[in-house]
């Protein structure tokens, strides 16, 4: 059972700054786990430490029960002996070798028999639709083809863990959609654990079984995608996931109710008395409703901007000096300057204290 366990792993490149700090996480076997975060948050460094290309400055890493790195005992397993494959962001295809030579390089230097090489090559070439490209040089391939070669080169080694470092960032939008589906299929068919690095929250939400959200080298939240989306542990998590960004507005918190612009919202359960009074209210665009007539839980506002995307209508609505982004699909769309009423659903609101921690 090759769970990947990071135990208090830290990595610093200089004495002052930490790239990764006290990261503890258990990546379950067979999962599609995404390391998500803004650039510089330490996600690639984490991936490289799992691969063994970067050495942590502290902590321990275990793969399938075997310690592959321990700062304390000095244990270390060579990257090639960890039974994992890494697809680099740049793909790192060797330009002086053909597609075929690129793919079988690892088998050749590990003295795998000719027959075995041929069988395995055939298998991955078909799986990744590369059979007609084997004799090309890599610079003669399109971006998507190059990526498939990079994946084939890793898969032919039959790793139990597949590490992918921002593999879609070099592709155009259409191809990116295609490759997302392809990677999901790959996950299903190989049954390998996939660890995937990206800064694209949409990619993370659509593909993963688990997301590890990182910021400034620290783990923010580790959970299933929709759990993070619906129950973000802090303001950063609420803000980073979801598009458009979550609306954050100031509100006052009492024992059992919230007051936002004079609107009193009853809380599903009372909060602890330690909570501060001044809080931030997180409201997702699709959790707010627009109406033309005044309702009970509604505030009056005015349409500032209309942003249709084809499938959806987004509005920027001004409510007592604050601008909210709201998704609202109605038979008759609103137009600029329409007076509207914004209604919210008390069961879905997120409340954060002055430190950004979720209160509810």
């Amino acid at each position: 059972m090759p769970d990947i366990v990071l135990d208090n792993v830290s990595k610093s490149f200089t004495k002052q700054t930490h790239a990764v700090e006290n990261l503890s996480i258990v990546i379950p076997d067979g999962s599609f786990t995404t390391l998500l975060g803004p650039s510089g948050c330490g996600k690639t460094t984490t991936l490289r430490m799992i691969a063994g290309l970067d050495l942590p400055t502290a902590g321990e890493i275990t793969i399938g029960g075997a310690v592959v790195f321990s700062e304390k005992s000095g244990a270390f397993v060579h990257p090639s002996k960890r039974n994992l494959g890494l697809v680099f962001q740049s793909y790192a295809l060797w330009p002086h070798l053909t597609v075929k030579e690129n793919i079988i390089f690892g088998l050749e230097i590990n003295s795998v028999s000719k027959n075995e090489i041929r069988t395995r090559l055939e298998k991955v070439a078909v799986a990744l639709r590369l059979d007609s490209l084997l004799d090309r040089y890599t610079n003669e391939l399109s971006g998507g083809q190059q990526q498939r070669v990079a994946i084939a080169r890793v898969l032919i080694m039959e790793p139990s863990v597949l590490l992918l470092d921002e593999p879609l960032s070099n592709l155009d939008a259409t191809l990116r959609m295609e490759m997302r589906a392809e990677l999901k299929r790959l996950h299903r068919e190989t049954g390998a654990t996939i660890i995937y690095v990206t800064h694209d929250q949409l990619e993370a939400l659509t593909m993963s079984t688990h997301i590890a959200l990182l910021n400034s080298g620290e783990l923010q939240q580790f959970a299933a995608p929709l759990d993070i989306y619906e129950k973000p542990i802090n303001q950063f998590a609420a803000d980073f996931l979801g598009s458009p960004r979550i609306n954050l507005v100031k509100a006052t918190l009492n024992r059992d109710s919230l007051i936002w612009n004079g609107l009193k919202i009853a809380l599903p359960e009372p909060v602890s008395p330690n909570c501060p009074n001044e809080v931030l209210l997180g409201l997702r665009a699709e959790e707010l409703k627009l109406g033309r007539a005044a309702e009970k839980n509604a505030l009056a506002g005015r349409i500032l901007t209309v942003l249709p995307t084809g499938a959806d209508w987004f509005y920027q609505v001004e409510v007592s000096g604050q601008v909210l982004t709201i998704r609202h699909n109605d038979a008759v769309p609103f137009v600029y300057d329409d007076p509207v009423y914004v209604e919210l659903n008390p069961s879905s609101i997120k409340v954060f204290d002055d430190l950004g921690k979720a209160v509810l």
Binding site: A51, L53, L55, F69, E71, G74, A75, F76, V77, H78, P79, S80, K81, G85, L86, F88, Q89, S90, A92, W94, P95, H96, F105, G106, I109, N110, R153, V154, M157
Partner: protein, 597 residues
Amino acid sequence: MMHLRRWRVYSTPERILSICFIGLLAYLVVIPLFLMIQETFIVHPLERFQIPGSKVNDFTLAHWYRFFISDSAYTFFYRPLLNTLIISFGLSILALLIGGGLAWLVVRTDLPLKTTISNWAVVPYILPSWTLALAWISLFKNDRIGGEKGIFFALTGVETSDWFAYGLFPITITLALHYFPFAFLLIGGALRNIDAQLEESASLVGAGRLAILRRITIPLILPSIMAAFLLSFARGLGTFGTPAFLGGPVREFVLSTSLYGNLIGQRPGLGYLAALVMILIGMLVLYMDHKMVGARRSFVTVSGKGSRLGLIQLGKWRWITAGLVVLFLLSVIAVPLIALAIDTVMLIPGIYAWDNLTLHYWIGEASYSVGLGTGEAGILKNSKILLALKNTFTLAFVVALVTGLMGVLVGYAIVKKRGTFIAKSLDQLSFLPYLIPSIALGAALLAMFAVPRGPIPSLHGSFLLLVIVCSVSALPYAVKAGISAMRQIGNELEEAAVMVGASWWLRMRKIIVPIQKSTYFAGMLLPFISVTRELSLVILLVTPTNQLATTISLLFTDRGWYPYTNGIVFLLTIVVVGCTILSRRIMGTSLAKGLGG
């Protein structure tokens, strides 16, 4: 499972490599420099008679006094210094005008024959620097150095005056004609890299061509202009052959010839002092380059993809200009070679008549009655010359291999350890030889290896010492090639191989070197060519038993046997140009790639 410490040591050899190379370079460059300074304070065997009451190896300030203060200081130091500065300034400005002008024509106008002109414009740098000096003598010789007058007199009947035939004037001209390719390559590169949009926006607000050139283009390429100027200046400083050939007859000395005369003669202390001064000037010049240009250089590299500004139409001047340029290049490349060749087939120099035609200097037997060169067989039958040629090519080959290997490894170590103190030290150390004028580098290594030191025996007169001095001198170019090769490869290509368990040796052999083979090859071609035509660097270090083609040709010049000198230089030139063309055909490598600042 292995231990962490073992992984750090064995799988990431760049740390060990760096430390080894730092040690090696400190030993071969830094220590010799200090020993050379020490040499300026001690009494050498021949000097104890000049300094009353002294014993060999005594501490003395006499050299410093004689060189800088005494009555003869003018002859020893100030006059050569002045000459050196005049020549270096003159040649740099001239080289800038020629090279810059050619670059502008090739990059910015609709000049025809651009490819040919670009290719030819680099050739003068490939030729031995003193080819032109020899050709100058063949052409413009007057009766000052004895023998018959030159080809120019034979053709026109006009005798050249001394200032035209010898001394500062021809030295400056011939060196400028040798070094202008620097300016051509650097300025041409800068012109090519300017974002056309910068000029187009000036054009849109109504600036004319001339205003654009003056207010936009030239300020943008100013860093390259400065770099080209200072580079030619620094190279001119350390050159030996040309001032020796052209300055000798009128007893005009520059620092390099003064260094040689003193060091080889009776006054080694003064020779080392001259070397020291040259190194200081060289460092000062390149430090200025770094200070004035380094900080500003960044904006030149801002290159855009914007459409190319329309080429300037030369109109009816198009072909005339091209004709003039080709004529100029021919007269710098072909005329000297033809002049040299003619001189090798004239039995009695200076008599240009059919019955004087001979192959004696090429294939004649040793003779005491026919021609010059008493007792010397023709070049192709002369065992001394053939041995020297063999030495030259063996040396060039070995040095190319050594520096090529060092370039790969040092470049690898520097890029891998990038940002660390070790990498910076190694980078600067490997760049150090670039700051040292070549003849002074020879002097420093002479100071180091002329006597046994510790377990290392005296290497004076050994082939190994020649390999060392040439390798050290070529190292900055090789390392530069190595670094740029590694930068282009990037980390991930190597790490992809680490991931499947390829050892360091395997990664170097199967990934890194094959990917960048043409860059590495260019990094080796340059040392090969420069060693083949090297004189300044080795002149202090050769002995009668290990002559090189260049140094043996100098011996013939000393005796006035120009046909031999010219023949040898002619041979070297053919080989060097041939190698360049061949490597271009085979590897697609251009020499320009390895050159540059």
